[in-house]
Amino acid sequence: MSSTVISHDAAHHDAHGHHHETFLTKYIFSGDHKMIAKQFLITGIIMAVFAMTLSLLFRIQLAWPDKEFPILEVFLGKWAEGGRIKPDFFLSLVTIHGTMMVFFVLTAGLSGTFSNLLIPYQIGARDMASPLMNMLSYWFFFVACVIMVASFFVESGPASPGWTIYPPLSAVPTAIAGSGLGMTLWLISMTLFIASQVLGGVNYISTILNMRTKGMDLWKMPLTIWAFFLTAIVGLLSFPVLVSAVVLLIFDRSVGTSFYLSDLVVQGQILPNEGGSPILFQHLFWFLGHPEVYIVVMPALGLTSEVISTNSRKPIFGYHAMVYSLVGITVLSFIVWGHHMFVTGMNPFLGGVFMITTLIIAVPSAVKSFNYMATLWRGNIRFTPAMMFAIGMVSFFISGGLTGLFLGNAALDINLHDTYFVVAHFHLVMGSASIFGMLCGVYHWYPKMFGRMMNEKLGYFHFWLTFIGAYLVFFPMHFMGVDGVPRRYYAFTEFAFMEKWMSVNLLVTWAAIIAGVGQVAFLVNFFGSIFWGKKATQNPWNSNTLEWTTPVEHIHGNWPGEIPTVYRWPYDYSKPGHNEDFIPQTVPFSETMSSNMPHDFEGNEEAIRIQEQWNKENNRVVEG
């Protein structure tokens, strides 16, 4: 596809969309970043629905551990004999729910969608640096999804050692049912997924650094682009580490090496493996695993920044601080992995080091939270559905982030680890926050993706159900965790001290079911609006960034003529002295003499002189 863009034939300069496209090259094996973004999004949504259904299944088990639901047997067969979910299958549900949500929905579905859509659009490029790599990235991801879903159709069931696949459960195929073929499929799927992420990430970084349009220096990039850029760097440095961990795991599983295995007896048989260390796997895994949670949350923060600024009609508060805090999170994300392993017998001194680095992350996170609120402060707020989700994202980021301070403390973690407190923490700060960031992006950029608007009323309905539902699901879990209720347990009927939590589990499950059903509003809205939505205008939100200067109708190469030049940063909203409350990045300062400030010219004396002369001639008084 790139060959069309860089065609040497001058006569066809404006003919980017005029080459022959078949159904197959346009919709299936597309190299176009806009189509790939839509592919990522729709696949991500399907995965999200699938993973959410799994969570509802295990929530049903937790709320009514002694009740029989014959309908479950109809659908799940031997995994729900007599209408009750089996313990083995419960573990599979938890594992695959986590894997799909973290990797397929919030990594690929979120940064895959919006990096692909927005990077070329917002930096002013015709397409990604390598459209072929981009296409491969999607198809690796798609095959990974298919394999993961397919693991539900093997006899021994899907993988069940948890999404963190700790050995020995994951390394000894005979350990439990889910350690067998299902685990092998999990590993294959994840290897393909990593390939997809690395291909995609490399492309994002390279496109941002090399393909920006004229005038788009790094400090004029929207915060979305900064977030995608840093996310891709984190991914590039951490995903290959998981490859190494998985390669060793595969050899332990299938060949008989002893990297992670030692002193094991499985079903009365002594395994020959000696000398391995399961902790080694945890180190390698969390060296990816912790950066991974920032891979999940940073794009959501970027999208939210853009949406909040646009809909507050105010410049983002502390643009530089926002960027530096993202950089801070990026750097810190690599030196905190040990906080997942406080109770693995880690040297307390080392635990202390990891505790300090972990708690330092609160600083950039707080900078971001306060900046969001300062941006909202006295803004001319437009409560579009996207804005609601953006504010919801900030809310979850704060309420989930605060409990991070408890968990990051090595001493408190001794009590809190592996309880529902952890479940509550990460579902708020990374699960709900990122999902809300993603949904805010979907509502905001839907007109750009499909050329139509989404229904607002359904959007508000969807927001309130999801927002209240998510808090009702996850907030009570904090109290369970403090009381010591462990995560991943199949039923709480056997322990006297947990019986009082049965009613809370009931509340949580009902909230989950209602919020889950609420997603139907989104699905109807999303898929219905593709066909029946109101036609979008070119710039429906009066936004400044470059993607809104492209025609509504998608064309290959994005801009019909030359790529526009950028003159200013993307957050000139409600600038005093201008007749409109937004000034797109493509408007030169010479056209906005009445609103220019000295600092707009960054020390360019000639420009300042011209401006001052104009001010004098027009009796304009510049404050500050």
């Binding site: 860089i6 300069h13 640096a129 090399n210 590039l236 290959p240 190494s244 000398g275 030359e562």
Partner: protein, 194 residues
Amino acid sequence: MGANEIKLEEQQKQFKAKKFNLWLGMIGMFMMFAALSSGFIVYTASGVDKGIKTILPQMFIYSTIVILVSSLTLHLAFKAAKAGELAKQKLLLVVTIVLGIVFFILQVQSWGVLTEQGVYFINNNASQSFIYIFTGLHLAHIIAGIIVLISAFFCAKPSIATEKNVFRMDLAAIFWHFLDLLWIYIYVFLLLNQ
């Protein structure tokens, strides 16, 4: 500015971005081996019975020489491509590919030597298994490298624009030199832990 110039500029941008892709990809690959190295160090430090505890095969020295020579021939091939000497470029590329295959064979043979020394892959001292992992993963990359070289070979013909040919050669050369350096890193790392 003429439309043609814009096209050329956009092509230059594309080339630059693709080359950058390769550098980033190499960073990713390096991270894989960095992870293995740190895994090796952590594992080996976990007990006095761990560690390589053997003499690395002589064969590794020969394979190091082979891959160094192949880097040299590839560099000459790149220079030939720049000078527009297609025949010379192709010949040198073939030599490089053959040397790459020889390297591959030598590495596999060194596995044989290792097993003769009693250093097996399936081993309760996983430090020794790590030798196979390092060399094996490197060989997987060598296969990719040879495929890149072969595709560069088929790109060297008059019907394909010179600048495209040179660009491909450039990428192939960077990648191959990287694999060369990677091997030297692995070898030195193993020697230091011998």
